[in-house]
């Protein structure tokens, strides 16, 4: 099956959210199953607001969101069943150990206990957290907490993973581990939608990149396609990004 014939894992149409002024302004965004999609944009562009609406953490003022074909606004419970959300500030329970945290998440997603146990141990091992599986998270570094949160997102085997700046504040080793987990997940058929301000990460990891500014998608495509839209084929993503965002700022 070629990529264009795959169904949409995320289908956003005419999404609108206003906090005084519009934060997301009629956004249309489609991501196909198995795709690794990076959403980039300047501060305050509406990236996090968009993803929080997708995750069901914020109600849109208008528009529609479908996740794996499920209308997330009409049936949020079914949509959440196939999705995982990770924010830039990993919020985990200090008084639980990573293993307990994963078992708790598995309970919330109604994962069978035996499968959850095996999957939890496999994830902790994979992320290098096995030696800390029984330690409370309260003494963990930010990198370790982010890895626990990532394991929590994967324990119920979601088909769509939404990540908001997952690499912020991570050291090189932890960042590499997180990137490798995400790439592996995409290879296995999962859909990843991620915001990042590290353009190099978007350039190296994403199949397609969307540039958002003033709450609208101003450009989208592979790096080559974006370069074409910026009008310079020898541009880096950073140059391309600045050129496209600059154009939008002039237009606004």
């Amino acid at each position: 099956m070629n990529n264009d014939s795959k169904p949409f894992a995320l289908d956003i149409r005419g999404l609108f959210k206003r906090f005084g002024s519009p934060a997301v302004d009629g956004l249309d965004l489609r991501v196909r199953s198995g795709e690794f999609y990076a959403l980039v944009g300047p501060n305050g562009a509406g990236k996090t607001t968009t993803l929080r609406m997708v995750a069901g953490l914020l109600a849109p003022d208008a528009g529609s969101i479908a996740i794996a074909g499920i209308d997330a606004l009409a049936d949020p419970v079914a949509a959440k069943q196939v999705m995982a959300w990770i924010s830039d500030e990993p919020m985990i329970y200090d008084k639980l150990s990573p293993l307990e945290y994963l078992q708790f998440v598995a309970g919330l997603w109604r994962v069978d206990a035996t499968a959850a146990e095996a999957r939890s141990r496999e994830l902790l091992d994979w992320l290098g957290l096995a030696p800390h599986a029984h330690e409370r998270c309260e003494g963990f570094s930010k990198g370790m907490r982010q890895k626990v949160a990532l394991a929590g997102a994967l324990v119920h085997e979601p088909t769509v993973i939404i990540l908001d700046e997952p690499l912020t504040g991570l050291d090189a080793g932890s960042a590499r581990q997180v990137k490798s987990v995400l790439r592996e997940r995409a290879r296995a058929g999962g859909t990843i939608v991620m915001t990042t301000h590290i353009l190099e990460v978007a350039e190296r990891m994403a199949d397609r990149i969307g540039i958002i500014a003033n709450g609208r998608l101003i450009a989208e495509g592979t790096l080559e396609e974006l370069r074409g839209q910026a009008g310079k084929n020898d541009f880096t993503l950073e140059d391309t990004f600045l050129a496209l965002v600059g154009k939008e700022a002039v237009a606004a």
């Binding site: 995750a55 985990i92 200090d94 639980l96 307990e100 078992q103 919330l108 109604r110 206990a113 003494g139």
Partner: protein, 508 residues
């Protein structure tokens, strides 16, 4: 303008911080509420003057040489207030050790820690004095108006008590640090503070129950047995009481002694504060291993959420101490229950409001933890379960915890006074549900560690919770006495809930 890094410069900095912290607490961080907060404070002061006037309307002039009973009562009341001041000061000291907001900056600066912490100890003493003065002031004013200006000397005693309380709090906390280390001190200091605050009140009540068969502290303070046991009227022990009555010589001695105590605490302990603060900072990085981890196996979402609430609470001794410390106040009624067992008298009606009030307050705290104090709100909100289901699971967790705490007392009461037990059970159930509903209507996301400051997020919720508990306690007490007047406080309780719901940001 004082020169940087000098004692006055730090003092100015500390007072500015303390003032802004207090303002933020009064206005819940909303600048527009300053006028409302000032009005509320002024109303509180006027109300307290009214209460003081009612309480002291029949008080007779005691002169400068009162009898022993008067000295015992005044000293007893002063000790009661002082135990609360020591408790408040200990909490301030613990906060100074464990709240790291500016400690990193201060301790990494090229300034002697002694200087900074000397100012901090003085600020704590001032905070304690101001709070005590706010509460005692109206009573002092009424006494000064009714019995003469010499009663204003009581302000000097309040200041002295604050200074002595801060000195003792610093010494106790530092001693705890040295004895049990930084990790255990946070919890131990909170418990010691709460026990000191409650011990004198509870101690007097226990003594009153054992000797007089009543919950009244004043009956015990005025009892012939206690007065006979107290030292002679010429004893130094009565100097604080004499100072309050306007004896200037006694006042000078009391002020001098307390100033020396505070000075000694600053001299001996301010340098150690820095070391202890660094040690306390290291506690956050300590790792704790869990031996069991099967709590969530085969758990449904609802069960997982309930177990999670219980487990987080159980594993946080600080939170447990904060929420369950109110249970200490159940000790006197429990003792009364035990003393009167099989007596068959109507004395149990007195216990009913205490139980209802305590259950309401405990439920309010637990409900805040379960509903607002969710440390991973995004995770729970993105779980594939309806929002109403999440709320129900959390509320069940609260009800279960309150049930476990109060069931034994209720069962004991049911054996000897079934009707009173029924009234108490009904009152408790309503008070718990009301407190939980108020927390639901006023929920706002916060970290569990902010538990102590939960009252600042919504003044309306705080007052609604308190008034609701009082109203249902009164309803249950009157119902237990088989009085039809129980309808009146019940209507007030319902009214409080209606008003709270109307004023809440969430109507669900």
């Amino acid at each position: 303008m004082s020169a940087p890094a000098t004692f006055p410069w730090f003092a100015r900095h500390e007072f500015r911080l303390a003032w802004r912290d207090w303002l933020s607490m009064m206005t819940a961080g909303k600048s527009g509420r300053l006028r409302v907060a000032a009005l509320a404070l002024a109303s509180f002061v006027v109300f307290m003057h009214f209460i003081a006037f009612l309480a002291l309307r029949n008080v007779a002039d005691m002169g400068l040489n009162p009898d022993k009973t008067t000295l015992v009562v005044i000293t007893g009341c002063a000790l009661l207030a002082w135990s609360l001041m020591v408790s408040q000061a200990m909490e301030s000291v613990t906060r100074a050790f464990y709240t790291r907001s500016d400690l990193d900056l201060i301790l990494s600066s090229p300034i002697a820690a002694r200087k900074v912490f000397s100012v901090r100890i003085v600020t704590m003493a001032l905070g304690t004095v101001l709070m005590a003065a706010l509460l005692a002031g109206p009573f002092i004013h009424v006494l000064a108006i009714r019995l003469g200006a010499r009663w204003l000397a009581a302000y000097g005693v309040v200041i002295s008590m604050g200074a002595a309380a801060a000195a003792l709090a610093v010494a106790l906390t530092v001693a705890l640090f040295r004895a049990i280390g930084p990790k255990r001190t946070r919890l131990a200091a909170q418990i010691v503070a709460a026990v000191i605050g409650a011990a004198f009140v509870i101690g007097l009540q226990v003594a009153a129950i054992l000797s007089q068969g009543t919950l009244s502290r004043f009956a015990f303070l005025q009892s012939e047995t206690l007065v006979a046991l107290a030292p002679d009227v010429t004893s130094l022990a009565w100097w604080p009481a004499r100072a309050m009555l306007g004896d200037w010589q006694a006042l000078a001695a009391v002020v001098a002694a307390s100033s020396m105590l505070l000075g000694a605490a600053i001299f001996f302990f301010s340098a150690r504060f820095g070391e202890h603060a660094i040690a306390a900072a290291g506690v956050a990085n300590a790792r704790v291993r869990q031996t069991r981890s099967a709590a969530f196996s085969n758990a449904s979402p609802k069960r997982a959420l309930r177990r999670k609430e219980w487990m987080l609470l159980r594993r946080d001794p600080w939170l447990v101490s904060q929420t369950l410390m109110q249970i200490l106040y159940l000790l006197p009624p429990a003792l009364m229950l035990w003393r009167g067992y099989g007596d068959g008298s109507g004395v149990y009606a007195v216990l009913v409001p205490v139980l209802v009030m305590a259950a309401g307050q405990l439920a309010g705290g637990l409900a805040w933890l379960a509903i607002s104090g969710e440390d991973a709100p995004d995770l729970v909100a993105t779980a594939p379960v309806p929002a109403s289901f999440l709320v129900r699971a959390k509320v069940e967790g609260v009800l279960g915890a309150v049930g476990v705490v109060f069931a034994p007392l209720l069962a004991a009461l049911a054996l000897i006074a079934p009707f009173q037990a029924l009234a108490a059970a009904a009152g408790m159930a309503i008070a718990v549900v009301a407190a939980t509903l108020i927390q639901l209507w006023f929920r706002s996301q916060a970290k569990r560690s902010q538990f102590r400051r939960r009252h600042t997020s919504s003044r309306v919720a705080t007052f609604a919770e308190a008034f609701s508990s009082i109203a249902w306690a009164a309803t249950a007490a009157l119902a237990a006495s088989e009085s039809l007047l129980a309808v009146a406080p019940a209507l007030v309780g319902i009214g409080v809930l209606i008003v709270a719901r109307a004023m809440s940001p969430r109507k669900g």
